[in-house]
Structure formats: C-alpha cells, structure tokens
C-alpha cells in the first residue's frame, strides 16, 4: 500500500503545515511517540533548508513498506543552487548561512535512513525514512 501526498514549501508557515502532515503520517504508520517526534523534527530542519537555502520547494510524504515494516518516507526537494561539497555540509557545525549547522547532520541522526542528492545548479533532494 502506498499513499502519497505533496505539500509546497514556499513560505515559512508551510514548514508548520509540513510538520503537522508528517506527524499525521507517522501516526498512521503507527510509529512510536519518540520516532514520531524524531521524523517531524528532521522534516522541520530539512524543510527549512529547502526554503532558506533552496529558495523553496516541496515535500512529498509517502507511506511505504521497507523490509516488511511500515515506514514513512519523506522526499524534500528544492531547485536551488545545490550544495557544493556534500561531505562538508554533513559535518556538525558547518553552515553556509547563519544557523547552527545542525540541520543536515542532526536530521540524519534522527532518522533510520537518509539519502541526499545534490549538485551545484541542480537543487537538492533529501529522502528521510523512519520505520516501525
């Protein structure tokens, strides 16, 4: 069974909507409370990145099966400038803006699987997975 919903990330308040929808999806996938909180927090970090650094984008929320477990999969994408050096961007404390530099590295620690694809000029796509 796969359900997919897509939400825009065009303005700050869209981050709140994405958080609420991810929470709903995590509840439907019957994730535990801590897992729900982790995936919602990770979504918040990555969605803010897409908005601030990527100039906006969208968040796709899917319920999937992964190795026989119910999983929530989020695909957050933007068409921004992309990330020059992915390895550097994944390090705690590294920031190109004025944040804490915890967004990418922190979000990766909060989820069960984390995939990032980005090239300069071609935007960034982040996949976040959390399963039961």
């Amino acid at each position: 069974m796969t359900t997919t919903q897509t939400f825009p990330l065009k303005q700050e308040t869209d981050i709140v909507v994405v958080r609420q929808q991810v929470r709903k999806a995590a509840e439907q996938a019957r994730l535990g409370l801590v897992s729900q909180t982790k995936i919602v927090t990770a979504a918040s970090e990555i969605a803010r990145n897409a908005l601030i650094y990527g100039g906006g984008g969208e968040c796709r929320i899917e319920q999937q099966m992964r190795d026989g477990r119910t999983a929530v999969c989020l695909i957050i994408s933007d068409q921004g400038p992309g990330i020059e050096d992915l390895d550097k961007a994944m390090v705690d404390g590294y920031t190109s803006g004025n944040g804490l530099g915890l967004g990418l590295s922190g979000a990766r620690r909060l989820v069960d699987d984390f995939v990032i694809r980005s090239e300069p000029g071609n935007g960034t796509v982040v996949e976040l997975w959390k399963w039961r």
Binding site: I15, L33, V34, T41, D92, G106
Partner: protein
C-alpha cells in the same frame, strides 16, 4: 494562525506558555516582545512553559538560547519548564543540549527555582532597598 504569544506579568516575573506550533517569525517576534517586556516591567525572572510543544527543532532551540542570553544580560533569570520526554530525547540526538538554560520538570518546580534564585540575588545586593536607577527612571 496565531500571530502573538501572550506574556503574563505576575509580580516581578513574566510567564509565558507556548501552546501553538510556532512558525519562525512567531518565534522571532516572541524574542523581541519578551525582551521589551523584561525592560518595561523590570522583570527579575521569566518562566517559559513548553509542555504543549510537540517538537523543538534547531530554530526553536536557538530562540530559547537567545532568550536566555539576552535575559541574563538584562539581569533576569530564565527557566524553561515542561519539556516532553520525546522532545528532550530528540533534541539531544539532534545535537542541541541547551547548555546554559535552566530547566525544570513543571511550572511549580520552575517557579520555586525562580523565587529562590531571585531572592538569593536580592539578598546579595545591600543597596537594593533604595535602588533608584536614574537612567532607567529617566526612560519612563
């Protein structure tokens, strides 16, 4: 959507309870409102209840740290109370330890900590009875 978090004054303290999922601008406005009210009311302590917050991400974490820092400089103590356990676990894993921010399990314990800390501070200031700060008075 809510566009302001109410701040309540009680004696020398300010109390606020964040009960909505804050968008970033709301958090920024709260910082500014609170700073302004600390000065206006000459508040000695601030209690922030986050028991209704279902997540604290790096942005909200940074806001709390910022509030604590600014308040300290303005001579007001800050305590954050009521963080949900799942939020605390997530926050640590995210990499935010909220160092330097006093926390308590609930409002009652937080209030007692504020009273104790502020009282102790006052007793260390022998001249606090005739505390007429001319520059502050002139600003009113």
């Amino acid at each position: 959507m809510v566009d302001r978090i109410p701040i309540l004054k009680m004696g020398q303290y300010l109390l606020l309870s964040i009960q909505v999922d804050m968008h970033d601008q709301l958090a920024i406005d709260l910082q500014e409102d609170l700073t302004e009210q600390i000065v206006r009311h000459k508040a000695k302590g601030v209690l922030i209840d986050i028991s209704s917050l279902e997540i604290v991400d790096s942005f909200i974490g940074r806001m709390l740290a910022h509030i604590a820092n600014v308040s300290r400089i303005l001579d007001a103590k800050v305590i954050v109370v009521g963080m949900q356990p799942a939020v605390a676990i997530t926050l640590v894993e995210l990499g935010l330890s909220l160092e330097g921010i006093a926390t308590a399990l609930n409002v009652e314990k937080g209030m007692r900590w504020l009273e104790r800390t502020v009282d102790r501070d006052m007793s260390l200031e022998p001249e606090s009875d005739d505390d007429t700060d001319i520059s502050a008075e002139a600003g009113n």
